[in-house]
């Protein structure tokens, strides 16, 4: 009884939308990209949370708890939509122009000067986010779930309905390769010129 009262005092569903609406929306839209889908997921998360108020154990803050519920909703969404879209088929016919016929690099891999300083600048993160957005949707999704959410191979396979581990690892490799190239073009090359002058 006492516990129930404490919980009731702590969780305040009426204030959720104002307090956490934007935070949750930002979380969702970064993963699903589609604004309308993100809005629906935020709503679903709030509804699920209202239904689950009794199970809240106070081990985490209200916000962390809500984000955890939203995280499940986001993964559910990918589980359903990837089955329909068959994400894994999109990459297989794509030609890889980064290597020549002998399998040697056909693009330049330039040195990055002081990347550890780059991460301290807000502009760098803006460029990185822009680069992530240039990825085709299937690669963007695997990259986001792997590197933003830290999902492992098994979880990714279960969530995205990708048929084999090898397909998944090839997709991740392509995503990283493109991102590396994009960061080189949009950040490190520009930035190094400025400094060298």
């Amino acid at each position: 009884m006492l516990r129930g009262r404490l919980v009731a005092e702590k969780l305040d569903p009426n204030a959720w939308l104002d307090r956490y609406g934007d935070v949750l929306f930002r979380y969702a839209v970064a993963r699903v990209r589609d604004k309308t889908v993100a809005e629906d997921l935020v709503q679903d998360a709030f509804l699920a949370a209202i239904g689950a108020v009794a199970t809240y154990e106070g081990g985490s803050t209200e916000q962390t708890w809500l984000v955890g519920i939203l995280r499940h909703k986001v993964l559910d969404y990918f589980r359903q939509s990837s089955r329909e879209k068959q994400l894994q088929h999109e990459w297989s016919d794509e030609q890889d122009h980064d290597f020549d016929d002998e399998g040697s690099w056909a693009v330049s891999i330039d040195p990055w000067r002081t990347p550890e300083k780059a991460v301290e600048q807000d502009e760098f993160w803006g460029v990185l986010r822009g680069c992530v957005d240039t990825l085709p949707e299937n690669l963007r999704t695997v990259f986001a779930l792997r590197e933003l959410d830290g999902l492992g191979t098994e979880e990714l396979l279960a969530t995205l309905d990708i048929s084999t581990k090898n397909n998944l690892w090839v997709m991740l490799s392509r995503a990283r390769k493109r991102l590396r190239q994009c960061l080189q073009n949009r950040w490190f090359e520009k930035w190094q010129q400025d400094v060298d002058v």
């Binding site: 979380y27 709030f46 890889d96 330039d110």
Partner: protein, 81 residues
């Protein structure tokens, strides 16, 4: 001997799974003589670590629910789950 293309794939996979002993040896052999792949390996590792250490504000766009969506959600929440 691995090509750069095969090496690049292993460099990425190393971030997702434990390579076999044979793969590790082949990788090391190639990296021993290839500056570009060495650089590639360092940059991918940097990319993964940077993402892992970054906060949600760095990795996600600043975004806000617009008024229409907010109103729609508010109305729906009032009906209860």
């Amino acid at each position: 001997m691995l090509t750069c293309e095969e090496t690049a794939q292993l460099i990425s996979e190393r971030l997702d799974r434990t390579l076999t002993l044979r793969e590790r040896l082949m990788l090391r052999l190639h990296l021993f003589g290839c500056d570009l792949c060495n650089r590639y390996a360092r940059q991918l590792k940097f990319l993964q670590r940077a993402c892992a250490e970054a906060g949600e504000e760095q990795l996600t766009e600043a975004a806000e629910l617009d008024e229409t969506a907010r109103e729609r959600i508010r109305n729906r929440l009032q009906q209860g789950p």
